[in-house]
């Protein structure tokens, strides 16, 4: 049998015609890997290798300064799992997640349904609603700090000017309003995502299904709940998982709005600010509270916990999609 990797000259070809190489079986089966190799190399060098390196550091007592450290095994991980501030911050992240999830699946869905009716200036509304998403979270934090500040903000004076002075608060320093304020700012920033995702899902629903339901006598609410909403399952899944990841990674907005300590009195402290503070310290005056390897251990616990929860979410929600 002829070797398929050997150049083959067609019998009908002219004597000087170029020889066509036939790809080998290995090349046919694995040749695509050459195309993904650059991306894989990049992925390994900026994601996998640093993660492995971080895991190594988390097994030591390195403070973050100098080269003097010892191997301590899993001490950092066991300490992190019994570290009350870790759970306190995680609970705040959970509150943010639940609040944003409910907001996006209600308000976001409602707005998407309205935009799906293609009102006048629909493009304008969609652009305006998505604008906060493209503003960086640091900029978002600064904008809202200026608005909400008790001293230089304009929200409280505006409320007083329109006769709603009784609503004025120390939004970011009052323990009752600080976290809800952070949640409100996050919701404002992320609303555009839910609108865009749900709008895309709505636009993929065949019109015939709604017409068939109308013919069968279903009213508007029944059409939405029994026909449209089940078909939005993929959007629901995507949004839920993305919201979970986004809210448990919260850092920028909290850091800018309430500082590295999650003021007041840790009411807005989240896992991001806790890990940052533990790794780099909470002030510019002293390095005495820096514990880099402990911070990395907390970050790794968070990573694995999030991965596990995301996997569980996707499994459960995909089943729901299939049933729908």
């Amino acid at each position: 049998m002829a070797d398929s990797s050997v150049p083959v000259r067609l019998a009908s070809a002219a004597p000087n015609a170029r020889v066509r190489r036939v790809p080998s079986k290995a090349m046919l089966r694995y040749g695509h890997l050459w195309f993904v190799l650059p991306g894989l190399v990049f992925f390994f060098s900026v994601m996998i290798f640093p993660a492995i390196f971080a895991l190594g550091i988390s097994l030591t007592n390195w403070s973050g300064l100098g080269t003097n450290f010892q191997f301590v095994g899993l001490d950092n991980f066991t300490n992190a799992l019994s570290h009350w501030p870790f759970y306190r911050a995680a609970i705040n992240n959970f509150y943010i997640f639940i609040s944003i999830l409910i907001f996006q699946h209600t308000v976001g869905l409602f707005i998407a349904v309205q935009l799906n009716e293609k009102p006048r200036f629909m493009q304008f509304y969609r652009t305006v609603l998505f604008l906060p998403v493209i503003i960086s979270l640091v900029s978002t934090g600064f904008i809202w700090t200026l608005m909400l500040s008790s001293n230089i903000g304009f929200l409280n004076p505006m409320l007083e000017d329109i006769g709603l002075g009784f609503l004025a608060r120390n939004w970011l320093s009052d323990t009752a309003t600080a976290l809800p304020t952070v949640i409100a700012v996050t919701a404002w920033n992320s609303l555009g995502w839910s609108v865009v995702l749900y709008l895309a899902g709505l636009q993929n629903i065949p019109e015939e299904l709604k017409q068939a339901a109308q013919i069968d006598g279903a009213n508007g609410w029944q059409i939405f709940w029994r026909v449209i909403f089940p078909l939005l399952s993929p959007s629901f899944t995507s949004l839920t998982v993305l919201t979970f990841i986004g809210t448990f990674r919260t850092f920028d907005v909290v850091y800018v709005l309430t500082g590295p300590l999650g003021s007041p009195a840790y009411r807005t402290d989240v896992l991001g600010t806790l890990i940052y503070r533990t790794a780099f310290g909470g002030s510019g005056f002293s390095n005495s509270d820096i514990r880099m390897s402990f911070a990395i251990a907390m970050a790794l616990i968070l990573f694995f916990a999030m991965a596990l929860i995301c996997w569980g979410m996707i499994v459960v929600l995909r089943k729901r999609e299939i049933q729908s």
């Binding site: 403070s63 973050g64 300064l65 100098g66 080269t67 003097n68 700090t145 500040s149 008790s150 001293n151 230089i152 120390n170 939004w171 970011l172 320093s173 323990t175 600080a178 709005l257 309430t258 500082g259 590295p260 300590l261 003021s263 007041p264 009195a265 840790y266 780099f280 310290g281 909470g282 002030s283 510019g284 005056f285 002293s286 390095n287 005495s288 509270d289 820096i290």
Partner: protein
């Protein structure tokens, strides 16, 4: 032919340009990081003076906001990307950098005989010199707006009772008694240090370092009570007010008093050139002595990986001289060079006078009490909100003390 001629001409020009001396190559460039952007113009004026006298050395200054400085510097040091000259708090931080091999040993390179005794002690660790205090020291006391006090017939308080009474008087007149940006806990930390120092004084603080006195002693716990009570005198939203916003609010006259350091005055002038303030030592816990605390503005280390160590040494030595020290004390903050006094800066003179009352080192510069500052930051808000008792607060601080006798 024409094409070959053009090519030859081009090659000739390129070769000739490499033979020409480049003036920039004769200059040594030193990179320097600093953590007071509000001083930029004043520091650059001093650097320009140095460059005039040392034309072969250029200093490239980068200003980084104080609250981000430590994070950026630590990351740069770990990555090997720190500048030639970087400032670090004296004491534990400088010792850690020296132990890690980040800093050059300056013991036989620098002459520090012209420094004040406290400055010499601050930069000497186990007999070795690792840094130079080139941008002075700071003393922290109580600033007050002189016009507000004069218009209302008030005098600055000297103890807790007077302070709280003054606080109520000002509130009754619709004036915010005290600006305190407490978001990151830095101001409460300085407040506590002065309140505790009013009870301990220098001797008592040394005793805490040795372990023969504690921050949980009944008389020292009164400082925690004072700190808790003073919260009612702060501006609205103090727990969410960032550090720099608070300083600006005071400079603009939004509050009558501010706990601040000599290093803050330059920043006040940047915000409000017409500011008219006075300085007194911070009021004492009843029965104590009004106190100030003093620390070094981050002394400068030379990066051990710098390619221009000799030039950096030249710069540091020059900065400790009388002329640059005079520029520092006249335009920025107190100096650490012996025999240099403010020529015409009333506020600096008042700050020096305030320090004569009862001055104690800032706690975080010393290995025994280095952790107290962070503990105050982390627990002050709970104390203010009544979620933590003054006794538990004092205990949390004491738990971080590592007495030298232990």
């Amino acid at each position: 032919m024409k094409h070959k001629l053009m090519k030859s001409l081009l090659v000739g020009i390129l070769l000739a340009s490499t033979a020409l001396p480049s003036p920039a190559q004769d200059k040594t460039v030193l990179t320097m990081w600093h953590n007071h952007p509000e001083w930029k113009d004043r520091v650059e004026a001093i650097l320009v003076k140095f460059e005039e006298e040392n034309p072969t050395i250029d200093i490239q200054l980068e200003e980084i906001a104080g609250t981000n400085y430590t994070t950026r510097l630590n990351t740069a040091l770990a990555a090997g990307e720190a500048p030639d000259l970087f400032g670090l708090s004296p004491g534990p931080d400088t010792a850690a950098a020296a132990a890690a091999g980040y800093s050059v040993d300056l013991t036989d390179k620098l002459d520090i005989s012209g420094l004040t005794p406290s400055a010499k002690a601050a930069v000497t660790i186990d007999g070795k010199v690792w840094s130079a205090p080139i941008l002075g020291s700071y003393t922290v006391g109580l600033y007050y707006h002189r016009k507000v006090f004069a218009d209302n017939g008030l005098t600055p308080p000297s103890n807790q009772s007077e302070f709280m009474a003054l606080c109520q008087t000002l509130k009754d007149k619709g004036i915010v008694p005290m600006i305190a940006p407490a978001q990151d806990g830095i101001i409460p930390a300085f407040l506590y240090m002065m309140m505790a120092s009013s009870v301990l004084k220098a001797d008592g603080f040394d005793a805490v370092r040795k372990g023969t006195r504690k921050l949980t002693d009944p008389d020292v716990v009164k400082a925690a009570y004072f700190l808790r009570d003073i919260y009612t005198c702060f501006q609205d939203g103090s727990l969410a007010t960032p550090y720099v916003e608070g300083k600006a609010l005071f400079a603009l006259g939004k509050g009558a008093m501010l706990e601040g350091g000599s290093a803050d005055y330059a920043g006040f002038l940047e915000t409000n050139p017409d500011i008219d303030v006075g300085v007194v030592p911070f009021p004492a816990v009843d029965g104590g002595t009004p106190a100030t605390v003093t620390g070094m503005e981050a002394p400068y280390n030379i990066n051990a990986t710098s390619k221009n160590i000799d030039a950096a040494v030249t710069f540091l030595q020059w900065m400790m001289g009388k002329e640059p020290a005079q520029m520092v004390v006249d335009t920025i903050t107190l100096t650490t060079t012996e025999g240099v006094v403010p020529s015409d800066n009333r506020v600096m003179k008042e700050m020096i006078e305030a320090g004569r009352s009862n001055d104690v080192r800032v706690f975080y510069e010393l290995p025994e009490t280095g952790g107290v500052f962070g503990a105050i930051q982390q627990n002050a808000a709970a104390l203010f909100l009544g979620e933590m008792s003054p006794e538990d607060f004092s205990k949390a601080l004491q738990d971080t003390v590592k007495p030298s006798g232990s």
